[in-house]
Amino acid sequence: METAIEFANKVRAELSHLTSEQIADLTDGLEADIASSLDDGADIGSAEKYATDLLAAAGMSKDVEVVPNAVDVFINKARRWFVSISDLEPAWWIFRAWVATQLIGWLLFRDQTSSPGYLEWRNMQWGGVVVLGVVLYVSVRIGRAKPTKWKTALSISHVVLAVAGLAFMFVSPRGESLSIGYLNPPPGQSSCQFVSVPDVVGLPIAEAKSILTSMGMAGSIFDQDAMTTLTQVPDDVIVLQQDPLAGNQVCRMSEIQYMIDLVVDLAAPMVTTSLPLQTTPTVLPPEPGATTTTSVKPKATTTTSP
């Protein structure tokens, strides 16, 4: 049996010669009315007759000459192709909440990163999740309420969010990442000196490496897709994220014990070599979960890897 939503969408499809705003004006709240009618067992007839009656009573002939703009033409075509397109509304609510959260994070931390597209909350790992939850709640409330006020503002915000979403999806950075691996005390050595992980997020990679090295860490640049060690990375590549977070305690040994991998995405062309940047002593496999990832983005590259 046809549901109220399906019938309302068919009515909207019958009105597709109108602008999307006119269709919205004519059919806003229609689902609830049709649902009540169906509950009463009323015969609501065909969607075509329904749309004709609706138009006539609203003072608009079905033959009314309306010249919709390009956006309306696209929306109306989409409506005809997918009569139940409004069923996708919840997906839009979720998507715009995600984009808005990304946008907020980027606006808050844009001075600390060179790239949009990541949920940038620095060390506030749960900050983004909490904000996403709040924004999602607001988005769903607005979506369900369909406020008649601020309609223009909402339409503009939808365009902004759609553009931002596309930007985040398609202009997002080619990710490189920095992994910090650290070791447990070697066999037979039960104690170690704990040191605090420094905060290198937002720093150029050269400076970050310098700080880490001064604390007994060594680094090599590694392409995780090509499984190749790289020798050259521009010094101004910015560290975007860091894990372990600053302040975590790691074990420092008498010699260089911390292995830092700069893992580089294949999409970011780099000069490669099979040799590591620095020689490190024999390293033990890190504890499960001990090696994590930090994202960086190159501002410039030199030669393309083979």
């Binding site: 939503i5 709240g29 689902e31 609830a32 649902a35 007759k49 009656d53 609706l54 309420a145 008649t148």
Partner: protein
């Protein structure tokens, strides 16, 4: 019920002429949503009024400022669009009512005259 064939009054046409007044009157005491108005009209005797005609009328009266509108969200289902009277609508009801009464008197006079003859 009166059928809309050649030998009887076209009731749907009669309704069409006074639907604005009927809808405004149905909302004069209490706000209501679309199907709520349909129910009020049907319970008053307009059993064959088309739902879509009522909804279209509501939209048009809203567009002309005779009705106000607001949306009420529902946790169980789709939101409802409610309509209420505006001062312009109340003025219009009074004017339309006078017109209707005058029109009926004219028609009654004509009918009565023909019957007397």
């Amino acid at each position: 019920m009166v059928n809309s064939n050649d030998e009887s009054l076209d009731r749907s046409q009669l309704v069409k002429g006074v639907l604005d007044l009927a809808v405004l009157s149905a909302l004069s005491q209490e706000d209501g949503y679309g199907y709520d108005v349909v129910r009020r009209l049907r319970s008053a005797g307009l059993v064959d009024v088309a739902e879509a005609s009522v909804y279209g009328t509501l939209r048009r009266l809203f567009a002309t400022g005779m009705l106000s509108s607001y949306v009420v969200a529902s946790d169980e289902g789709p939101h409802r669009k409610y309509y209420g009277m505006t001062p312009v609508g109340r003025d219009s009801i009074a004017a339309q009512r006078d017109q209707w009464v005058a029109f009926c008197e004219v028609i009654n006079t004509i009918i009565k005259t023909k019957e007397d003859n």
